[in-house]
Symmetry: C3
Amino acid sequence: MQRFDLKSLAVRVGGRLDGSPDVEVTGVASIDDAQPGDVTFVAQSRYVPRLDDTGASAVILAEGVETNLPAIRVKDPYLAFLKAIEAFARPIEDSFPEGVHASAVVDPTAKLGEGVRIGPHVVVDARCEIGRDTVLGAGTVVMRDARVGERCLIYPNVTIREDCSVGNRVILHPGVVVGSDGFGFAKGEGIYHKIPQIGRVILEDDVEVGANSCIDRATTGRTIVAKGTKLDNLVQVAHNVRIGQHCVISAQSGISGSASVGDDVVMAGQVGVAGHIHVGDRVQIGGKAGVPNNIPADQAVSGIPARDHREWRRSNVHISRLPRYAEELAELRQRLEELEKANRASSSTNA
Amino acid sequence: MQRFDLKSLAVRVGGRLDGSPDVEVTGVASIDDAQPGDVTFVAQSRYVPRLDDTGASAVILAEGVETNLPAIRVKDPYLAFLKAIEAFARPIEDSFPEGVHASAVVDPTAKLGEGVRIGPHVVVDARCEIGRDTVLGAGTVVMRDARVGERCLIYPNVTIREDCSVGNRVILHPGVVVGSDGFGFAKGEGIYHKIPQIGRVILEDDVEVGANSCIDRATTGRTIVAKGTKLDNLVQVAHNVRIGQHCVISAQSGISGSASVGDDVVMAGQVGVAGHIHVGDRVQIGGKAGVPNNIPADQAVSGIPARDHREWRRSNVHISRLPRYAEELAELRQRLEELEKANRASSSTNA
Amino acid sequence: MQRFDLKSLAVRVGGRLDGSPDVEVTGVASIDDAQPGDVTFVAQSRYVPRLDDTGASAVILAEGVETNLPAIRVKDPYLAFLKAIEAFARPIEDSFPEGVHASAVVDPTAKLGEGVRIGPHVVVDARCEIGRDTVLGAGTVVMRDARVGERCLIYPNVTIREDCSVGNRVILHPGVVVGSDGFGFAKGEGIYHKIPQIGRVILEDDVEVGANSCIDRATTGRTIVAKGTKLDNLVQVAHNVRIGQHCVISAQSGISGSASVGDDVVMAGQVGVAGHIHVGDRVQIGGKAGVPNNIPADQAVSGIPARDHREWRRSNVHISRLPRYAEELAELRQRLEELEKANRASSSTNA
């Protein structure tokens, strides 16, 4: 367990100590979850009253906000809290010992960088390259001719297939599959004949891929996830997809074959993107949206099929009013018919 | 293969034997699938005629229902059938031998309870605790400081990450990931900076998690799945989620970060729940629903966005009638214009 | 790396050489991705102009289309390109050495066919049968009494549970789970009691299952995926489902318990099929559709709930016009009220 006296922690997060320097903190927690020993934070004034009930031993707080708790005073309490989390995060070496475990099977033609941490039952096949300081968790399999960069953190039970390339500082969570075959068949005489999938996957630097997500290799050429893009759990990236830089793609979303996604795109959960389309830079896609067509840059879209987000919200309001509209329609029809009847009566009177 | 003479099976399921006690049954099956050697059941009168065509050698049946087959007579045929299934289920020891397989890598500081069954290529890291009679299937990895309770059944290729806690009698199906990082980043200068995820996952007693489902650890604090809750395959539970007791969450559903789900909630397949919301006790959520807002207790909801289930069904009927409404609108407009024309003509006549 | 001179490649793909026979090609690529050394293809006339900019060293092309590149002339350039891909695909033995790796744990009662390739850390339990020339990738676990046919390609980290049966020439991608428990519980006194899942899974010949997909065993009887059917990544097939022959089911789709799917069905991505229903032969289901009811053969459906595809498209057009319809309704109401007012005035005048 990590331990800090409040004075050292104030230094770590760049704040001013306001209270006893000897208070010892052993964890960080949100205001509602905090127990004695935890440091918490308040970033918005509406949470200040909850300080009276928190179990925390100390709080990170802006100047001028009153509290009886020992405090670390900072300009931006949320950012300082993130620094406190980093202070308490356990280093890699606590979980993954250095060196190659005796049970790992590393092909003699594979190249291992200095400082690698290769766990039990790992497999590194012929001609693979594993960069320095990279971790391969237990049970992970790296197939022939694949390349993993430096300072990567590959968790247990990951599969990286042949010829694929993983950049530097990439994180792959447990169960991730990189380079599975694209879903490509040629139909002939009622039978699907497999099209061999001979392309690769390129994950650029600083990519992170969530647990049990799958990234298919290209049929020919490359499936690419560009620099700094983060994929959540159970995400599907099909063959020949290209995802740009610094995108965030939430859990259970799927990108179909040969689609391209620009830079700085954000997808909420369970989004689906059709094949062969382009999603422009900085597009934001709402949860559960289905995107059948190209989306120009800077749009926010939602719905199935996806359309402008505000328009989609307006549609939903109108859909909820449909029973009322149907009644109004019936009512107008009735009143119209009465008018028509009256007119017919009146015109026969006039005649 | 398990074998019972009909007399012993009648005793096992608490029924009255009606036919030869020497009939031997070697399996259980539904009425349409049953082969000679199988015992089947009929619980609803509309299935009785199918008894003429079944291949079954015996049937579990209410008193008074006629059949030529050897029968076990019971009050509740479905419940008795479940007991017959239990009778035929193979015991754990048939699939998982006792003891620690020679190829498993168990850290000397780990504590193993009596009667554990630890399969080939399993990894149990430093300071882990594995409760008595618990099974760890082949290739499963339990990372440092994690705890698995008693009588758990952890199937092959599961990953339990550091510091997580699994209760008693928990079942984790193959490929499950417990404690993967929450999907949390702080954006600065166009780049996503990882927020270390230093919290844990708590799976309480009698939880079951389906194949390849993922449960993320909390950013700080705990992600909790409470007692008796069952998750199906490919389910996503994000960081800091709390799911109550005795919920049933069907395949491919996802719960976003910091959402809380009450007790006795039922979700059909492919549901999505947004972050930071609360789903009340006993709420029922229809398949494919997207839940963007809090749902009060005891509601049944469906749709994207989710709303009252009956209201959603009504909306769908109205949506299917939209082409007709559009025609009616056009027709009313035309008739109105004719009336207006007639009125203008008449008023100029009158003038 | 595979290498062909253009003359040999022309023979392989059944085309006529048009240019120097000594040009050497080392890969295949689409027209935009191609680099020197690659052979590309043009199948549609609108792509012909791009030949001027391609990096390719040679092109597969119909007779009569002009180009300065060395060409292989064929009748159907796309089909010939597929043959070129096959020519460049690396054989199985490049990735999976023959024999049983020393670290694999194979029960003495298991039967291994000739020519099997069993990787590191594989587990084959008691009484399993592995057909000849079948590959089991590293870390794959085959539990007791399971059977895998001939010439199968089982990638790393797959789990095949007890009693399940996999046909010939089946491909299972990394992380696939075959035979996990069906999601079945009997509720009693507020608690879900597990119904033992004692059935099996049958994957027939030529089935392919994508990465991290899950196929649950039957409660009793069998879950079946019939001959030639292809499942993409992250697909869920629940207990007692029967999927017919030559279906294509795209990523992240899910089929609920006891549903049956006919032959030659095509599902796009993220489709959901409800339990206990039947999807007829040759049905086509659009992306993200939710199918709550039986679908007769030969239908194309989309939407949630799924309905005729053209009807669904028409509905979407009408939904996008709802704001306009609402305005029209308000306008008609106003004009109607003016008419009514005028009529009242006129009738009091007339009176």
